[in-house]
């Protein structure tokens, strides 16, 4: 299993698509920084913030949790790129037929699925950590409104969002395995990461709330909504709930992927 993991790491570091996606991601950082500059550092917002009392100053201060939420949770570019990477990664050895060489080496396919998932998670994790710190560092250096506070919230948020991200990636991994086609996986991955399903989920939640006359928000239990809406400032209940949702979806997606791999013949 560890050898298969190493094999995936070997090929991903030599794939052109990896570097193209990293290049696009790097370019997106500067575009996002530009947006942050317009929102927080332009003369108009500065004038408004000066005229406000200290309590409202937070609205015009850029804290580490806000930076994290802006660059990762609500950034369609980041999520779409991660989805595209996951689809390409999950499909690459099938579309190229290399999977025949590895699948024929094992009687059980479970080690192959776990090793591939683990290598995908490793790549996304490295990217997440590096990207988070680059975004935080550049925001601290380039945006005047950046204030170095709420670090506890940032750390909690960092790990909860990380769990949600890995869970999303695992979902894309499962969908790609299910469809066995890069285009099918890519479309659904992009729809998830662009927040298209969030609108549907909110509509369903609204209908449920109206029908049963309750404040219960069903959308909180949909992974993409939980991921995009989470903030460490929401409290312990929201944090525990989001962790639970992330882990449940991850376990479900991974189980389904293993089930599919066990049942399906390899068509390459």
């Amino acid at each position: 299993m560890f050898n298969i993991f190493k094999m995936h790491m070997y090929r991903v570091t030599r794939a052109t698509s990896t570097y193209v996606l990293l290049g696009v991601l790097a370019a997106s950082i500067f575009m996002s920084l530009g947006i942050l500059f317009i929102v927080y550092d332009n003369p108009l917002t500065s004038a408004i913030s000066l005229s406000m009392s200290g309590e409202s100053m937070d609205l015009f201060s850029l804290t580490p949790p806000t930076v994290h939420q802006f660059f990762i949770q609500t950034s369609n570019t980041y999520l779409i790129l991660v989805s595209i990477f996951s689809v390409i990664f999950a499909n690459c050895d099938f579309t190229r037929g290399f999977a025949k060489n590895t699948y024929s080496m094992f009687e059980s396919r479970r080690p192959l699925v776990f090793a591939k998932w683990l290598s995908l998670v490793t790549c996304v994790s490295i990217c997440y950590i590096v990207y988070s710190f680059i975004c935080l560092g550049l925001s601290a250096v380039c945006i005047k409104a950046f204030v170095s506070t709420k670090w506890t919230e940032y750390i909690v948020g960092f790990f909860v969002v990380y769990l949600c991200l890995i869970s999303l990636v695992t979902m894309v991994f499962w969908i790609t395995t299910l469809f066995k086609s890069p285009s099918g996986g890519m479309v659904i991955g992009i729809l998830i990461s662009s927040g298209t399903f969030v609108l549907v989920e909110l509509l369903i939640s609204g209908a449920v709330a109206r029908t049963f006359h309750t404040d219960f928000l069903l959308a909180n239990y949909f992974l993409d909504y939980a991921f995009m809406s989470y903030s460490a400032g929401m409290g312990t209940v929201a944090t525990v709930r989001t962790i639970f949702v992330a882990l449940a979806y991850m376990a479900l997606a991974l189980t389904m992927t293993v089930f599919l791999a066990d049942r399906k013949d390899v068509h390459v």
Binding site: N3, I4, K6, M7, Y10, R11, R14, A15, T16, C92, D93, R96, G97, F98, A99, K100, N101, T102, Y103, S104, M105, F106, E107, D265, V266, V268
Partner: protein
């Protein structure tokens, strides 16, 4: 010789269609087993089941005498080239071999260079595989299949689409694998002529059913030309045939099958006529491997 692979009534169904129907083949250690059949006969599906790329619906197979669950160690002793070579197009030949070697836990780069040299790809350098010719890709596919030093190699249509030079290169490679590396090979093809040059045992598969399994010698003996002879008096004809010195013949139903001097139909007919025996039907049968194949599979004109 010991059996390296045996399938026991292995079957694969896709819905109601039986792609492979109760096939039992036996491959002996050190031999090249030719699986002959037209496109869609079930050759690839059979090889995929042996390679663990498809699950048999019923039946089982034994590799290296182990039935049921085959261990990872045994699996690693089976090299696979099924359909197209499974390669990463943007990587070089060496990098593709390296990827398979890492997956197999092999760290010796010199061994990989030796493999490239063995298949005639040593000088290709960092050229991406997408720029390779089909023949080069097939040879790379064989090299990847050989990374684990397999004892059994499954080659599915390795000469499909190759030009004459490419076919000759792959044929030579198969010969060398067998003679120098002592690898048992199952090679499938619908090109009968090519298969007859490399294989020393054959399985003829048609519509998912194994029609015949025979060694090259057995098959050739079945392909010896025979004279089909139907006369007005078969008993009297037997005496005449013996008189002209032909002893290798037999009565099959309402006709005679003559295996000796089967090409001398004219002389036999003349001798019969001189004794007043009328020749009702006479034809030469089983002239080639191809004719034998057509006879088994229902007389298709193109394999």
């Amino acid at each position: 010789m010991s059996i390296i692979l045996a399938t026991d009534r292995i079957t694969k169904a896709y819905g109601s269609k039986l792609a492979v129907n109760q096939v039992s083949i036996h491959v002996e250690r050190g031999e090249v087993y030719g699986l002959i059949g037209r496109n869609g006969a079930g050759k690839t599906t059979l090889l995929k089941m042996i390679a663990n790329l498809a699950t048999p619906t019923t039946g089982s197979f034994a590799i290296f005498d182990a039935y049921g669950n085959v261990s990872a160690e045994m699996r690693s002793k089976v090299g696979v080239l099924i359909e197209d070579p499974g390669v990463f197009q943007n990587l070089s030949a060496f990098q593709n071999l390296k990827a398979k070697a890492i997956a197999s836990g092999i760290k010796n780069d010199q061994y990989l260079n030796d493999l490239l040299a063995f298949v005639g790809l040593y000088g290709v350098g960092k050229k991406p595989v997408k720029n390779f010719s089909l023949g080069m890709r097939q040879r790379l596919g064989i090299a990847i299949a050989m990374v684990n030093e397999p004892e059994l190699l499954l080659l599915d249509e390795p000469i499909n689409g190759l030009d004459p030079q490419g076919i000759a290169e792959v044929r030579n490679l198969i010969h060398r694998l067998c003679t120098e590396k002592h690898i048992s090979i199952i090679i499938s093809s619908h090109i009968l002529e090519e298969l007859s040059r490399v294989a020393n045992r054959y399985g003829i598969i048609h519509n998912g059913i194994l029609m015949a399994e025979a060694t090259k010698d057995e098959l050739l003996s079945r392909c010896v030309p025979r004279l089909f002879l139907k006369t007005s008096d078969n008993n009297a004809a037997q005496i005449v045939i013996r008189e002209i010195g032909i002893n290798d013949f037999s009565v099959v139903g309402d006709h005679l099958e003559i295996r000796e001097r089967a090409t001398e139909g004219g002389a036999i007919s003349m001798a019969l006529a001189q004794k007043g025996i009328q020749t009702l039907e006479m034809r030469t049968e089983g002239q080639s491997l191809e004719d034998y194949y057509f006879h088994l599979t229902g007389g298709a004109t193109y394999v």
